[in-house]
């Protein structure tokens, strides 16, 4: 929109009030070329202060010795020592492996269940609007409550799921799901999948609404069955959305230790220790900020590489 065709919104100032009236002054400012930058300034400053600066600070912290429980913070440059230590730290390798298990299984379950729910909801059958609200609800519930709800249901003494499984004969007696290294991770993945599969449903449903129905009509005429239609039309058309959803969810799963912190704190033993949780505990419990920073930097690099590779692969497939 070119300015010259528009009438000047304000005439020349006539009174003293015209010169100091803030609305008028900002209004005049809004007609200048710098208006959009002024609009962006507050949020950009804030994000610089609370995201960019802390992140860079954290990265340089990973090259320092920094322990909060020492009076001088013990800040000296140690170069790559934290990274060297990581290579020989067995907990790091266990955490890395657990992170891979945690992310892979959670993503696969969330995607499959989320897709099935989205496909069923997209049929727009009468009465399913209410069901949609109920199905989306878990995603908006707090981690803390989600964790304790499931801890209550899986409790070794009074867990209702134990009771049900014993009643239908799948289990001999009540089981301490989170205290057994063999089942703790699986149980945590169930809770995570329950909590976050609606995220996939939400995004995939939006994607499904964007697929032209003509495609399915044509496929019907050609005699393609429902599974062929899913494979040949639906999934290819959803590719971008699936890629976006998977990347966002992987970021969330890798970065946030909340649910595991609430459910197991990484135990029993190290069986549910993931990288983000290890980094958090190194900072929160041991006050070893330098090493925690190094662990997070490694995590961040892994995420960047993953996102880059994943986008490359989906792009290549498209061509």
């Amino acid at each position: 929109m070119s300015r010259t065709f528009l009438p000047a919104p304000y005439g020349p100032p006539r009174t003293v009030w015209d010169r100091i009236n803030p609305v008028r002054l900002i209004g005049e400012l809004s007609e200048t070329r710098y208006w959009m930058y002024l609009l962006l300034l507050p949020s950009a400053l804030l994000i610089t202060a609370v995201v960019l600066y802390p992140t860079l600070y954290g990265m340089q912290m990973s090259f320092r010795e920094m322990r909060l429980n020492r009076p001088d913070l013990g800040t000296g440059f140690v170069g790559l020592r934290h990274y060297e230590r990581m290579l020989s730290d067995p907990v790091f390798w266990v955490s890395l492996r657990n992170t891979a298990v945690w992310v892979t299984f959670s993503i696969v379950i969330e995607f499959v269940v989320g897709l099935i729910a989205a496909l069923a909801l997209n049929r727009n059958l009468p009465g399913t609007k209410v069901l949609a609200v109920l199905i989306l609800l878990p995603y908006f519930l707090p981690n803390v409550v989600a964790g304790h709800m499931w801890a209550l249901m899986l409790d070794p003494r009074l867990g209702v799921i134990n009771d049900l499984l014993v009643r239908i004969g799948l289990l001999e007696g009540y089981k301490a799901w989170f205290a057994d290294p063999g089942t703790a991770m699986a149980a945590a993945i169930v809770v995570e999948a329950w909590h976050s599969f609606p995220f996939f449903t939400l995004l995939l449903l939006a994607g499904l609404k964007g697929i032209p129905t003509d495609l399915y009509k044509a496929a019907d005429i050609d005699g393609a069955g429902p599974f062929a239609q899913l494979r040949l039309i639906t999934l290819p058309m959803l590719r971008t959305i699936i890629a976006a959803a998977v990347i966002l969810r992987v970021i969330g799963l890798v970065n946030s230790p909340d649910l595991l912190l609430i459910l197991t704190s990484g135990g029993p033993g190290r069986s549910t220790q993931v990288l983000s949780l290890y980094a958090f505990q190194t900072a929160y419990r041991d006050f070893n900020f330098g090493y925690a920073g190094a662990l997070s930097v490694v995590m961040f690099v892994f995420l960047m590489v993953f996102a880059w590779a994943y986008i490359r692969i989906t792009k290549v497939n498209q061509e």
Binding site: M1, L6, P9, S30, E31, Y37, L39, L40, S43, A44, L46, I47, V50, V51, L52, Y53, P54, T55, Y57, G58, M59, M61, A117, A120, L121, L125, L131, V133, L134, I135, L136, L141, P142, N143, V144, H148, W150, L152, D155, L158, V160, W194, L202, L203, A206, G210, D220, P226, A244, L248, I251, N255, I262, S276, F280, A283, Y284, F289, L295, F300
Partner: protein, 283 residues
């Protein structure tokens, strides 16, 4: 004719399958909430029993009363309300105008900046929390509700801007152009035309951010250290650890704290769902 018949039979099959599936999924999604509610209205003696009671034999609200009167829960909820409100206000003041600028103007650096707002979500929370802890301590905002709210904007402000941009993009540009031709400034067009048109979207975006701030746990755990600013998720978690909080009271605490979430979600869910997906589809 034959093909027609098989097709309608197959349609019927998939309709029935869809209903069955959706009912099952809805049950799985709701069951933990219902079970927690049932636990919260049981007497402690009826929770830990040899024979499990699926329907509470007696109903009591004692768990709620005791949690509210004998623990710090009211303070925790109040702190959470303050943190949530301040977070939403900061996002509203700084995010709305940024979102408007992205939606309505073409300028140098626009794509890069928008991408930047997206990429900051990839930064590990832990990597930010540690330096935030040190910085907040230096400026005296550690263990304060304001400080926590500012920390929350690190991940909620980018989200707010992206989600709201979707709603601004959907608002028609013609009214705005007409107002401009009538001599309204850009400022006037923004506040008197565009923002009122997009008010439902603005409300949905605010609710989404409010729910996220209300639920947040990790930042709050690290950045609050005392009763004065602790939020309910941290308080509840600490009560479980320190006082071996009885299941009935824990369930009551859970129900109290998800009540606002459920109510808000029910009210604005349609606009909110549209906003989340619009942002994601384009992003």
């Amino acid at each position: 004719m034959m093909a027609q018949a098989t097709r309608s039979r197959s349609k019927l099959f998939w309709d029935v399958a869809s209903y069955a599936l959706l009912l099952l999924l809805a049950f799985i999604c709701i069951a933990p909430i219902v079970w927690t509610f049932l636990t919260s209205i049981k007497f402690e003696a009826d929770i830990v029993t040899r024979e499990m009671h699926y329907i509470p034999p007696r109903v009591t609200f004692e768990n709620y009363v005791r949690l509210w009167n004998q623990s710090s829960y009211p303070v925790l909820v109040l702190n959470s309300l303050v943190v949530t409100s301040v977070t939403v206000l900061i996002c509203l003041f700084t995010g709305t105008i940024a979102s408007y600028a992205f939606s309505r103007f073409q300028f140098r650096g626009r794509t890069e900046l928008m991408l930047g707002y997206l990429v900051v979500r990839m930064f590990p929370a832990v990597l930010m929390i540690i330096p935030l802890f040190i910085v907040m301590r230096q400026v005296g905002l550690l263990d304060s509700t304001i400080g926590l709210a500012i920390a929350y904007t690190s991940f909620l402000l980018p989200l707010f801007v992206w989600m709201l941009k979707g709603f601004f993009d959907a608002a028609p540009k013609e009214l705005e152009s007409a107002a401009r031709i009538d001599g309204t400034t850009r400022l006037g067009a923004m506040f008197r035309i565009v923002i009122p048109i997009a008010r439902n979207g603005l409300l949905a975006t605010c609710v989404f951010v409010a729910i996220a701030a209300w639920n947040e746990f990790l930042f709050a755990l690290m950045l609050t250290t005392s009763q004065g600013s602790r939020t309910w998720p941290v308080g509840l978690q600490l009560m479980v650890g320190e006082f071996q909080l009885p299941w009935g009271m824990l369930a009551a605490g859970g129900m109290i704290s998800i009540l606002p979430v459920v109510v808000l979600f029910a009210i604005v869910q349609r606009a909110m769902v549209a906003g989340i997906t619009a942002g994601a589809v384009k992003g």
